[in-house]
Symmetry: C2
Subunit: 272 residues, 2 copies
């Protein structure tokens, strides 16, 4: 199967824009400065050295003071009703592209989010295991992120924690083919995708809101986070299949919003 | 119920040795320099600032070059047969003390490990979620650590990864009362403990070996790690009960053995 990943990486090195593929957001390793092969979740390519990989592009990873993911303390959290947003993603009865990026598995779909009178365009959604956000210190086995960008380049991410339980139909259909993309660069199709239950789930429950960052290089800030307070569900067998492919791809919990970046703090402590 | 944790913390502040309780190892927050309340897994008391909590006692957390946990790459790992060690833990038909330390839940039992003609004394075992060690980049939902110390103060830790499956009888009996210790300082009794199957499991399979560190402050090195290559098992319901109490208590993956400490490396990068 043709590798979009390889093509994107080559395009990224050549500085070719990938806009035609709708990879408009900067969370993904398809930008000239952050090729996919350059970051991981282990050792010197892992989260504690993302800044070291590119000190200009990834400056916020070590210096930003509103970095994600965070531990959400529910008693202090900003919580609004999900009816305040409108997420519209068309059905994909024939499935959508499902790609192994090395650091993640990603589904390429279009759609829109309207929040506070601004429209954001959906480029893709992807998964983290474990969850990146924690709620009152507790983590969850997985987390799903829908990454969107407005015309003014503002980024929004709609996320849901995923707990163990009977797998939601959408996740079941997405992961039906995860074993077909075991290696970076592999591409396949998901099963048929219908987002209507997810949209209902989002708009009929409450949501946590905060302004944070991308959780991957370049860790850009001013990202609008919208996280459902009610989780989605996955069964253990499906989780194990996904984990076998994704392995571990959660950035460590950052310090509270507006607090010193934990890595800049560590450097200060070590230089005393 | 009387709080041993509180008593230990007070004793630690007063500099009173806790040897009579067999808390001989330094992994636990019962030493004068590392009171329980001083470290956590979040923010400025979390793993990225353990050094900042006590720059003398916890120097190795930021400077040690053989820190644990690591990602074990099986093609490079030192693997020996488990028959090379002998782990002997008496049965506790009436159960053993089971304590919530704030950062962990711990079972207080005696026993011995003999390895390379040296005898180590067991003080306790405890649990991490997620696993601290990763195998070929993949994490597991939990990990158990048996912490032992020899007469010359050398520390050994016998660990097992814990995957999802039918709960092993030992874990089932340990966790039967976990919901009775929801808060730091709570103490209860486990169900009856019989270690014979665990001992068989250890000595009839292969083990990973390496020399690393404690995974909690003071992050002391020259710790002998012995990790079973075959996991134990826990079912999802029991896991959820444990996670509700422990929440998240895994140190981030360290760099490879002999490599620069990731936090010292980060400081170097930030000071360029």
């Amino acid at each position: 199967m043709f590798s979009k990943y390889l093509a994107s990486t080559i395009a990224a090195f050549l500085g070719i824009s990938n806009a035609a593929c709708n990879y408009g957001t900067s969370e993904f390793p398809r930008e000239p400065n952050v090729p996919a092969s350059k970051f991981s979740y282990t050792g010197l390519t892992g989260p504690l050295n993302w800044y070291g990989l590119n000190e200009t592009a990834n400056a916020m990873c070590d210096k930003g003071m509103n970095q994600s993911p965070i531990n959400i303390v529910t008693t202090n959290a900003t919580i609004t009703h999900g009816a305040s947003v409108s997420l519209n993603i068309p059905s994909y009865p024939g499935g959508a592209d499902f790609e192994n990026l090395g650091t993640n598995v990603e589904v390429v779909v279009n759609g829109t989010l309207i929040d506070a009178n601004k429209t954001y365009s959906l480029a893709q959604f992807h998964f983290h295991t474990t969850s990146e956000h924690r709620i009152n210190n507790e983590y969850y086995p997985m987390e799903i992120h829908f990454v969107l960008e407005a015309a003014d380049k503002t980024i929004a991410v709609v996320g849901f924690l995923i707990d163990f339980g009977p797998t939601d139909p959408l996740l079941s259909s997405v992961f039906a083919s995860v074993s077909e993309i075991p290696s970076p660069g592999n591409v396949t199709l998901t099963g048929p995708l219908d987002f209507s239950i997810l949209q209902y789930h989002l708009t009929h429950n409450t949501i946590y809101r905060y302004e944070g960052s991308l959780t991957t290089p370049p860790c850009s800030e001013k990202v609008k986070w919208i996280i459902g307070t009610k989780p989605l569900y996955i069964d253990v067998d499906t989780y194990k299949e996904v984990k076998k492919v994704v392995k571990f791809n959660a950035r460590y919990t950052q310090d509270g919003l507006g607090q010193a970046n934990l890595l800049e703090n560590a450097a200060t402590e070590l230089n005393r």
